[in-house]
Symmetry: C2
Subunit: 333 residues, 2 copies
Amino acid sequence: MPELRKDPIIGRWIIISAERGKRPTDFIIEKNSVRGGFCPLCPGNENTTPPEVLSYSNTADRPSNKPGWEIRVVPNKYPALIIEGDLNKEGEGLYDKMNGIGAHEVIIETPDHNETFTHLPPARMIRVFRAYRDRITDLGKDPRFSYVMIFKNYGAAAGASLEHSHSQLIALPILPRMITSELEGSLSYYSYKERCIFCDIIRQEINQKIRLVAQNELFIAIAPYAPRSPFEMWILPKKHSSSYISMDENHFVALSEIFSECMLRLDKCIPNVPYNFVLHSAPLRSDSLSHYHWHFEIMPKLTMIAGFEWGSGFYINPIPPEEAARYLRDAEI
Amino acid sequence: MPELRKDPIIGRWIIISAERGKRPTDFIIEKNSVRGGFCPLCPGNENTTPPEVLSYSNTADRPSNKPGWEIRVVPNKYPALIIEGDLNKEGEGLYDKMNGIGAHEVIIETPDHNETFTHLPPARMIRVFRAYRDRITDLGKDPRFSYVMIFKNYGAAAGASLEHSHSQLIALPILPRMITSELEGSLSYYSYKERCIFCDIIRQEINQKIRLVAQNELFIAIAPYAPRSPFEMWILPKKHSSSYISMDENHFVALSEIFSECMLRLDKCIPNVPYNFVLHSAPLRSDSLSHYHWHFEIMPKLTMIAGFEWGSGFYINPIPPEEAARYLRDAEI
């Protein structure tokens, strides 16, 4: 019997259609067809990207835009939104529009062209997470922006167009719909229960254990109850916190360790699977929110978005999260 | 300068990033890799599908589940939801679930394996639209269902797994999120203006003409103001009507004519483009609604859904609808 499950935060329903039962090995991963050839993200090619806005290096006196960096953040050469200008909201009859003001940056996660995010040692993955914090903090000073969306596309099927390991950020002048839905849903729960719904989820998942993928002292990784995609995972801080950028400096180690573990477990289940991950955090410059809880959502790209999903906002998932979590936990890494 | 545009009905923002300016010929359509070989939807293979729930034939005495049909509707052999059982809503800690009760059917649009929906003559396309109405009407008698979602996936990239031209329906025990958003958004507009927002859109589009793709006496086809995908089109009845199944019998000709014209124009711009279309209509058994307006949404599959779209609910569209509409209008068909 298929099952309909509701995401408790935003009310999105998904269909667990396990009659179509699949094991991880049933997913056929096509050869990554991301463009090869000249790589603008490789050391030595710094002059082919816009000038860096941030870099971390092991050498104190490295000149900007030269090799020697460990992490490098540059504006996207083909940005979806542009940084200069006014918002200039206006109507057109019954329609509303505004200038496409924003920032679109590329976080180059490693100088090594062939190193994947999944295989970054936690001690180096830390720098990626610090770069996220530093860029969000910096862009948050610009009053035109309401939100900075951090995301990663890995593999052609998940939308990557460059092979060299990188994530991206887009600073937006309006709150994304997904974040608004999460804020509203979690506020509604808080108004009723006076508890954070994410904290309640964490408690239930630690208790039940069936959807638990990994945990350490500070973080938990779960297969969410109503996942859009097979092997979807969420990583959340155990202690309540609404904003990623307020994370304690000494929490980055634990975050990197659990993130690395999740990626390695996923890769063991479905080698080289294309995926997206997205950071969900409170709006820029918001106070600490009692009802919201920052987290990462990792979505392997294993199913299609077709007419039914477009029309309904439902997703059909052939693998129950309890099974996915078991496969992930059992993977030998 | 990119532009941020808001869908006036549900408030979804999209980014028109015309700096990435593209012409229809810039889109590379990969060879349709839908499974060939034995076709369970072809005449003569009726015994390989579940028994038909509806068929139209030109011969009065055709026996069921034998060749001679023009349109045939059968339950999906691998349904996402199943028809037998009770809804049985229950909780699991803070989570909610219910049995996956529903119907999942396949509307076989033609007996000819090689005929595409786009190239069906309007006189035969009519039967497809009648079949939609007849199945929604029939399933609407089942009080367990709230909504029947009609959709079509064409081409492997748009999620089709069989080559033979077909659309699908899924009857759902809960209202899909997308329809709820449309109902809420249009009601909110109606409460303020006492007018249907779709009727206002139709008026503005007929007036401005820049996003108009086609029209006849009864229907209009437009490129919507805030399209998720390049060459997205909506087809709406000019006269206010909330429910597809209340359409006058003599309106089917005009619907088929405009739908056929739109598909031929699209195919001329981007030959053999993969696409999805979805029927949006009022919930089952609802009274006539003053604020809601049924319509079809046609979405060519030309861009990727990646991390940014997953995380934000925003879409990035490289072609302004005004340009897409011009290409579509100018196509010689």
